[in-house]
């Protein structure tokens, strides 16, 4: 992981899922885990791909690629282990490429037409990156999210 700025209360981790960059508040991140074994078993929870073992705990893995892009994002070999908001002791993980960056900055509130999983936007140089609300993301219908992403790509 590359540190691209000073850590502060407005620190973010920038991650790439497919061709898109997103930001997550650094305070939520517990660990960038290496490509450990993904354990899978039958279930009907659409957003979960399996579990990994980290820090002597069973950590569910959310398939952020299929949630955000409606397809498995290839090359996502590492896992970003995230503390759930609201003080829940449960950790969650999302597959990411190893290219995560740290960044600092002020978030701007999202525009009204932005989907619920966008908590705000973060200006990084000339780019604007969506700050993910992980709780909203994993409770959203994947089809709705994918359509939202496709809509952005068209506009």
């Amino acid at each position: 992981m590359i540190a691209a700025g000073n850590s502060s209360r407005n620190s973010f981790v920038l991650l790439r899922i497919g061709a898109h960059r997103f930001a997550l508040p650094a305070a939520l991140i517990a660990e960038l885990a290496p490509p450990v074994k993904l354990h899978t078993f039958p279930h009907t929870s659409h957003s979960v791909s399996g579990v990994i073992i980290r820090r002597r705990r069973i950590v569910p893995v959310y398939d952020a690629g299929s949630l955000l892009l409606a397809k498995n994002a290839s090359g996502q070999q590492f896992y970003l282990v995230v503390r759930r908001a609201g003080g829940a002791s449960e950790l969650s993980a999302i597959p990411v490429s190893g290219e995560c960056e740290m960044a600092t900055g002020e978030t701007q509130p999202p525009e009204d037409d932005r989907p619920a999983y966008v908590a705000g936007t973060l200006a990084i140089g000339e780019d604007t990156v969506d700050v993910l609300d992980l709780e909203a993301l994993i409770t959203s219908a994947p089809a709705t999210i994918a359509e939202s992403i496709r809509g952005e790509a068209r506009s």
Binding site: I29, H43, S45, V48, I53, R56, V59, P60, E90
Partner: protein, 177 residues
Amino acid sequence: MSAAGEHNEKPARRGKPEAVILFWVANQMFAIAAESVQEIRSTDSLAGSANEIEQQAVPKVRHTLEWGRRLCYVVNAGVHFDLPVTRPTLVLIVRRMRIAVLVDRIDRMAEIPAMYPLPRAFGGEERRWYRGLAYIDDTVIPVVEPSGFLSAEELTVLDHAMKLVASQREMEGAVQA
């Protein structure tokens, strides 16, 4: 935040040790508490005591099995878990329930040091299917909840279908007589 290298770690132990039977359905291994299984029989040995259900009231149940004084519904575990189609060779007869389960093969018996709760991220039918997760030989294995193979609603539907079949047979018998 830390970027840690891969290292061999086991989840922290919680709960009590428990004897389980490890079994396979398609390409997936499951565990079931040994004490909840009354008997394991080969499907070949049940030819005389199993009856086909003509009505497909619950698709995963195609046979009944008369076991002692019980009528058990035989659940195809592959269909139940939506796994690839296989040819099951064994049936697990569940203790104190009207459920028998078709599985591919038994792997072995084992003692699990602890069972871990299913993470809350899993919010679907699996909450009814599994008691929790076990960690054996570096693999996470779901521990099935025997009552999860048939819900109360499914049992009601099957009982109703069986009553219909019985009354149909009675009528056919009366007509022939």
